[in-house]
Symmetry: C2
Subunit: 113 residues, 2 copies
Amino acid sequence: MEKKELFGRCPYVTAQKVLTGKWSMYILYLLSEGAIRFNELQRRMPEEMTHTTLSRQLKTLEKEGLIIRTEYQQIPPRVEYRLSEVGEKFKSVLSVLKIWGDEYILYLNKTKK
Amino acid sequence: MEKKELFGRCPYVTAQKVLTGKWSMYILYLLSEGAIRFNELQRRMPEEMTHTTLSRQLKTLEKEGLIIRTEYQQIPPRVEYRLSEVGEKFKSVLSVLKIWGDEYILYLNKTKK
DNA sequence: CCGGATCCAGCTAGATACTG
DNA sequence: CAGTATCTAGCTGGATCCGG
């Protein structure tokens, strides 16, 4: 009996793995509104996140094929990030996720109080 | 200027945190088909996952309010897990996520080959 | 049958410093 | 402006053993 590797076969396990990064969903959300530059992205991220972390997460998402990095040869440098084709399709997940997330926050407030 | 804590305020960051567990989505998917006992759950999980890990993840999801644990006082013991009310609402996310996950797997196969 | 307690290894986010 | 290199601390998944 061989090992049951579900990554690449099960949509849930595969999606889970892609979304492990602590900020991946929020990054994808910001990118879902259009191409955005590195610094602008960082400014919109929570303060506790450093540019090192952001850079690493972006690289991971790029390697996974969800986002596309475009570098314009200028001085000063200009780099833009945007969703790839598969990344664009993820928008549908984001919209449903937003609805659920808001409901969950409501739930949290009800029980915490 | 105070710290911008987005958990509990931003739906994406909040959802992300809830779904950090390595198997959370897959567990929620299995539970989305109805109440299920511990052992049955474990049997449906990938082999590489031990009961210790499963137990811990279930406890986390229970604490987060996504699932409900019901213990029947019997010999031998019988424990069932099912989705809570907020957990049930997560099904909509799961269905969209499945669609995207499958598309992403297709994408992976196209590029890897 | 359904776990808890413990320990350990690996990952990864964050801090800091440096660069074209 | 947009990063990389390096180091560290903390989390967490997995293994093993014990228990009601």
